[in-house]
Subunit: 490 residues, 2 copies
């Protein structure tokens, strides 16, 4: 197993090395598009399944809408097109033909589409155009629909999982009879995301609302959860948008209310993506490779038997298989690796690199004494423990590791929320410490932009639990009624 570039040497390189070497993803032959490799995909699948269960428990259904969006749809919501539709993949033709020399294929100029189709960068427009036919009366509301899909945004500078031209995500699109109901939904889904990211990914998040300039194109309010990576940069891990009646007006979606009057429908949309894989990696992993929280890990416990002689093998494999059955019976995702082609040392390095939370190694002496060597991936500690009782001990230990990862990340995050009072302090903390900077801001987009130009830091959010506090904007000195969180961000 090759060494990773240490985080302290080059964090970006460490990240890229880890994604490649742990078999999570790689760049493809298509610029900006990634291949999600089997191990990476098995982690994404577990995220998807857990989220999907939460969506269904909160009353949502899945559906599927077209990959393509007619170009004219994108112009219908003015703010939406401004923010979104510019960098995208445009389908202009629908046929290839063999070239005249017969050696290659060329685009058939006669097969030009009357109206170009855009590969969806997000689906509000095609979905609201569809909802128009589904909604007539208040009895048709609410519509609580989610879609798991691929989307394309033509990014010029891409990074595996964090920013790719094509990525996988889910997008919820809900329709409601009242403003209040749509706002409740928007916040409910922020809570669903927040609970998921904290409880399963073990990543602490700050819930907040975006400033006007950071809002989703077409939204009235964008709520977000913001996480902190080990290099002190913030990463937005989910957003939930209150869209008001903007898309209903753009696509003329009205309903007859209980009083028989026509009204425009209220909307929310919300999404998380394969970016969560990036957050997961950058929050917990170390210079030895990936570190996975047990609730998410595809393999929670790996069992590596060690033997030299063939006569040791049978007894060893028997003992291991018995243990596997016991551990599976208590719901542990356990893997026995008795592949003779690979040496124990190679396996140790491999599972450490892939972030398996607990490794159990059993040698002939262990078998005699009824013990195993138990290694924790998060602390890299080892101890000899009794084989008896592992089916009680391991579920508790997995939970302990889950909690410990969360608390470690929470402590780091909390140590990296720094209140500052002056512009000098702001710049110094940003440069020397990183993390979230809690500072007064005058509320203007102009100031926000000047701060960003000067430092690259953006306002990540106005925290939802914010207390009113009179102060002066760190940049303009103008009066401010609350602090907001600034940070450098992915």
């Amino acid at each position: 197993m090759e060494q990773l570039t240490p985080r302290s040497t080059n964090y970006a390189q460490w990240y890229n090395d880890l994604v490649l070497k742990a078999g999570l993803a790689e760049h493809s032959a298509v610029r900006g598009c990634m291949v999600i490799k089997p191990y990476g995909f098995s982690i994404w699948e577990r995220m998807r399944d857990d989220l999907d269960r939460r969506f269904k428990e909160t009353g949502h259904e899945n559906a599927y809408f077209p990959l393509f969006i007619p170009k004219s749809f994108l112009s219908k919501e003015a703010a939406h097109i401004e923010g979104f539709a510019k960098e995208c993949a445009v389908v202009t033709h629908y046929r290839l033909k063999t070239s005249e020399d017969g050696k290659s294929v060329i685009v058939d100029p006669e097969a030009k589409l009357e109206e170009e189709l855009i590969v969806r960068p997000t689906s509000e427009t095609i979905i609201w155009n569809t909802y128009k036919n589904w909604i007539n009366s208040y009895r048709d509301l609410p519509l609580l629909i989610n879609q798991w899909a691929n989307v394309v945004r033509w990014e010029m500078r891409t990074r595996l999982f964090l920013r790719t031209a094509e990525f996988l995500w889910q997008e919820g699109h809900t329709a409601h009879a009242t403003r209040e109901e749509a706002e409740v939904e928007t916040k409910l889904m922020l809570d669903v995301y927040s609970d998921f990211v904290q409880d399963i990914l073990a990543i602490p998040v700050i819930k907040g609302v975006k400033t006007e300039s950071e809002r989703f194109a077409g939204a009235i309010d964008t709520y977000c959860i913001e996480a902190l990576m080990q290099d002190g940069k913030a990463l937005q891990t989910g957003t939930s948008h209150f869209l008001g009646q903007n898309f209903a007006k753009a696509f003329d979606v009205k309903f007859t209310n209980a009083a028989g009057k026509q009204e425009y429908v209220w909307a929310s949309s919300w999404g998380v993506s394969t970016r969560l894989m990036g957050a997961l990696i950058m929050c917990h992993s170390d210079d030895n490779g990936l570190v996975l929280p047990p609730r998410l890990a595809p393999i929670q416990v790996v069992l590596v038997p060690i033997y030299r002689k063939e006569e040791e093998r049978t007894a060893m494999v028997d003992a291991c298989q018995k243990l596997v059955v016991e551990l599976k019976a208590v719901g542990i995702r356990v893997k026995l690796d008795n592949d003779d082609k690979k040496k124990p040392g190679w396996k140790f390095a491999e599972y450490e690199f892939k972030g398996v939370p607990i490794r159990l190694a059993i040698g002939p002496r262990d078998l005699e004494s009824g013990t195993v060597e138990l290694s924790r991936r998060d602390t890299l500690t080892k101890e000899s423990v009794s084989i008896n009782g592992l089916s009680e001990r391991l579920p508790l230990l997995l939970e302990e590791i889950q909690q410990s990862l969360f608390e470690r990340a929470l402590e780091f995050r909390n140590q990296h929320i720094t209140p500052v009072e002056t512009w000098e302090e702001f710049q110094s903390v940003l440069k020397n410490k990183g993390g979230f900077i809690s500072a007064h801001w005058d509320g203007s987009t102009e100031t926000e932009e000047k701060i960003k130009e000067a430092t690259k830091a953006s306002i990540r959010c106005i925290p939802l639990n914010n207390k009113p506090e009179a102060g002066a904007c760190i940049f303009s000195g103008k009066p401010s009624s609350q602090r907001v969180y600034f940070a450098l961000a992915y």
Copy 2:
């Protein structure tokens, strides 16, 4: 609930009406692309999850490859481009810009791609280009990978689920060290499909191999499962291809074998799609709407309470909720519909239309006598049964319905396999009876094409369990060694 066009009047219209009115899918604003509605998607999800489990049990892992394929990749496998790449969505540009009058968006002519990208019609080329980097040694083999994805084929005449420009599917792509292993895999996956379609969808299938002209573009052999619809037309419900070394040669994918020698890798690919939804509908449903096999049905049992007075309501809902808990405890997917805004008669029609296998209705008198009215969707029969014991009775009844649907379809299918000896007989059976025609064929593509031109019937497959039998081709009179299955097909 509006009436469906009866099957006997217009089968195609019946199908389209049913898909729309049962809330399964509808046409979208994008030509040829469908919207899969929540109820339709919940059925597809159950297919997907069951298949996914079977793939994993047979050692496969999921991964994700790019949506786009560079145009030049398609030319690399000669047969592949001939059969496939012509009717497809071509991305030529990556940016839109605001028009000069500021009123609309136009494609930015400066953002033209150097090489056009094709929206994947199937992924052999991009995947084998990726496998090149993953495979070096026999130790890297086999690679057993599946992808769930959307694909696009620019169909001019589309029908919901059966033939759409965009559809959802899975595509397995495996790489092996030997020809034998790749062939075993190809046949294994045909069995996985066959078991799934027969056991879950309750659709009997014929396993066979395609003739040369019906083979997948780039395959050495295409295996298929063919099902029969109620109108006597065949529908291919799954294919598994032995690709030989064709794609390995096209993308130069070699491995070092155990003896240290370089060899090209052997391949299979296999897929099923949302077409299965069309097969499901056309195999079992009737003039009253959808009929779903219990193992697949998202709702297996619906419970409709009937009451007039408010004081009846509480006792009724209590009794129903108690029953729901009991039925859920034995693993039944049960829905209690106590929506007061809708009348029982409307609900009866709705769940009948949506194909829920068992309906239970409970009125005040039933409550007194401890009975429910039980209606079977497949037979449209009703009986009064005791509430006590439903949690034992219903699982058995659901299995009975599952078997009964399969047997009904099997009987119909078997009655519609007609051996014919002459060309006159062939034409007469095709016109008056439909179904599969078992006939001798001289083995030439020329004859196959002439028969297709004359009758539109194609050779669906050469059945895998075929017995050698000397005879004369029904069309050319030339000698033949076995019978093949002809049919009109979707």
